[in-house]
Amino acid sequence: MSRTDTAPTALLPRLLAGDRAAIARVISVLEQGAPGTAELTAGIRPHLGHAHVIGITGAPGAGKSTLIHALLGELLARGRRIGVVAVDPSSPITGGAVLGDRVRMGEHGAHPNVFIRSVASRGHMGGLSRSTGQIVDVLDAAGFDTVIVETVGAGQSEVEIMRIADTRVVACPPGLGDDVQAIKAGILEIADLLVVTKADLPGAEATARELKDMLQLRRPAAWTVPVLRTVGTKGEGVAALVDQADAHCKATGKAKRLAARPATAAETSSDALVKRLAAADPFVRSLGIACVDAGPGRARVTLTLREEHLNFNGSCHGGVIFSLADTAFGLAANSRKHIAAGIDAHITYHVAAKGGETLTATAEEVSRSRKLAVYRVEVRRGDGQIVSGFTGTVYISTATHA
């Protein structure tokens, strides 16, 4: 690939032709919010809707990797071209990740009709479903017949990710038992297909029954959710799974997924712009603040508190909280074309925060005129408790961002 071929204008036609390297490069551009993001997002938009997007999740130990391995085999046997987005939600302590899902797909990863992209969840948080959605769109536009989004877990972030799929599959191991009641996050509620994996083990029958009982509580809908059974190691039940997924797609279609895409061109370019500004801010970097999500007039940033952020009481220093809130404020205010400068800010501290906690500051635009804008920022702890409230006003200049 020569230098000129990597320009966004050159990447797009190659992407649409299914060129592997171009697909990968476009995904990188969008992930990094690099120059070309807006053009590529817009260029992809008209080409969406061919792929059947299947989301698959399940708690760790659900045998999901084995299931997906068997699923890929079945789809390849049916002549499909498959794109896979493997989301690896590993621990957020160091910021790094080992992206292991791809390797568990074994020899299928080397098959020419398979394209696998791994995504680390860290640092994305609320923005993870957006990034994953972007990658799904790229694979859709590139012409894959099936796009599998694979993630692990049954929590809120997994629910968000599953929303970007046409068909949502949740894998449950035998003996789920009490956990069926315990899963309140809604992952089972949004499932279109339920699969009891490792169905040759004792307890599979009982688990299938529990799931069926739980389904009775749902509102009746056009699509009846089947409870399937698979033995991934032997490939049993996988053909039926594909058949059901196809049937679901036929019955309910893709319109809902396409309509739910939040990223308008303006959204995407705001997000990219804000992330670029955050990256260029030495103070933000020195504190260790990460910008996770932004749009026109809004921004969300996070900070995991370290020892140097604490005061003599062992709580988070008020200046740090202020800086975090002020960062969200400044980014939200600068998320549009014009450069904005803060002229007034107030903060109230409600409760203390301790070392090791991760604080999130979310800024929303309260009002905006040609010259002035007001933002409200809330700083919350990981458990949702509000730590601080902040209000700020900016003066909007005529100068624009580079």
């Binding site: 292991g100 390797v103 074994g106 020899e107």
Partner: protein
Amino acid sequence: MNKPLDPSLLDTRDPEQLWQRQYAQEIGRDRAISNRSGIPIQPLYTAHDFDPAARAGDLGLPGQPPYTRGIYATMHRGRTWTQRQLIGLGTPADYNERLLALLAQGTTAVSLIPCNSVFRGYDMDESHFELLGTCGAVINTAEHMDRALAGVDLARTSCAMNDPSPFTLLAFLLATARKRGVNWSAISGTSNQSDYLSHYVANHMFFRIALPGVRRILGDHIEFCNREVPRWNPMSVVGQHMQQAGATPAEAVAFTLASAIQNAEDCIARGMDPDQFLPRFTFFFDVSVSFFEEVAKFRAARRIWARVTRERLGAKDPRSCRFKFHAQTSGVDLTRQQPLNNIARVTVQAMAGIFGGLQSLHTDAYDEALSCPSEFGARIAVATQNILREEAHLTDVIDPLGGSFYVEKLTDQMQAEIERVMKIVDDAGGMYEAVESGLVQRMIGESALRFQQAVDCGEQTVVGVNAYQVDEDPRARPINTRPDPEAMRAHLADFARFKSQRSQADVARALGELARAANDPNDNIFGRVVQAAEAGCTHGEICATLRRELGFGHVQAIV
């Protein structure tokens, strides 16, 4: 900085208390020391740490359960350990040349390491040419084995074949024996490192066929050998791989004993009698430079195995309860920097193994960390063993460290740590389950990372690497020996000729029988491998057939 001694503190009649106080005063800041297995090490050990009178039963005598002091009454004084040096390079003729030289220098047994292409299950014409014969002998047929062992009396020389499932090298050896008119009942040796569990976990070199498949083949192999090659040890349970992969010495023993239990239980499930197969179980261990820890490790292993075989596996014959092991000096302790220092390291490791009561020893060449060892290095490695035995007279006394307060206490502590880890494996459902789920791999990975961090931060010294470094002249390092490309090309051409001239019908029939056996639990897969070897099938063909029927061996990638 010595403070004047405070006389009042020294006023005590108890000599031990006196020593403790003197020590505390003089040492200043003492540091907490633990060995590699995490066991804290005191500055001094006394009768309080081990009372021989009270522990006579656990200590025992050589040749008597629990075998703490040695599995034979005579140990090395009666019969010295087997000097079994691992070698392998180039073509069969290259291997044969080095083998005969080593035998002349005093090694007493054969150990054959095949080329990595063979380890992966491929013939030479399926592999990257650059890599052929660089780290092992390229042996793909019975004829190659015959050439490699030319001039070796198979009825009198013990042969260890380093070849994982489906053990084609032994099959080639048996075919060669038959051709030479040597009865299989005279063949002795070991299917070295035949333990598929350790391969799956740690030395992926050896893993070719899917896990359930290799489990079955090993059972068939043990049954066949016990019946047809009675002096052969088909089961070599391996601790070396895990220790080399980063397991602590105690973990390595624990996982190995757990593997042995798993393999034994699999045999019992097939209806085999423990007293029939257990005497032919051998162990293969790493021995590191952590001298006392290694000695204690082996003594503890003997004690545990003696009890496990009797109480858990139902052995009645005392010969079933003996922990027989081959030790290889640990390559991971050797450095690339100042390589001649490795001679000192290997000497310490060998001594630890000898005092630990090994039955057979391989000493590494000093240039092990640079490339595949040179002939020069291999010679020094053999000489090291000769010096230890005949100049240092290390074989004159059986278990000379027995009774040492330190060594006995450490043996107890190593035993406790080993049993703690064995319980973790038991709780996970046994070694097969623990390995399939990745538990063992994760534990080993954590130990490996911890050790590397200790080295990186200077807590654990490695001479020449993180301390006592010197600027070295790279030209002082020995030149790498590579096989002669011309000889290898000739070997390839010869191989092609062989394949075209053999009976294709015989080959097809033998591979067909092999494939059928793979799907028939009543047939013996290894028996069919031997038949295939005699019919002229190649190593790659045999492996390919079994991979097709039983599944390709994928290892998990666990970080």
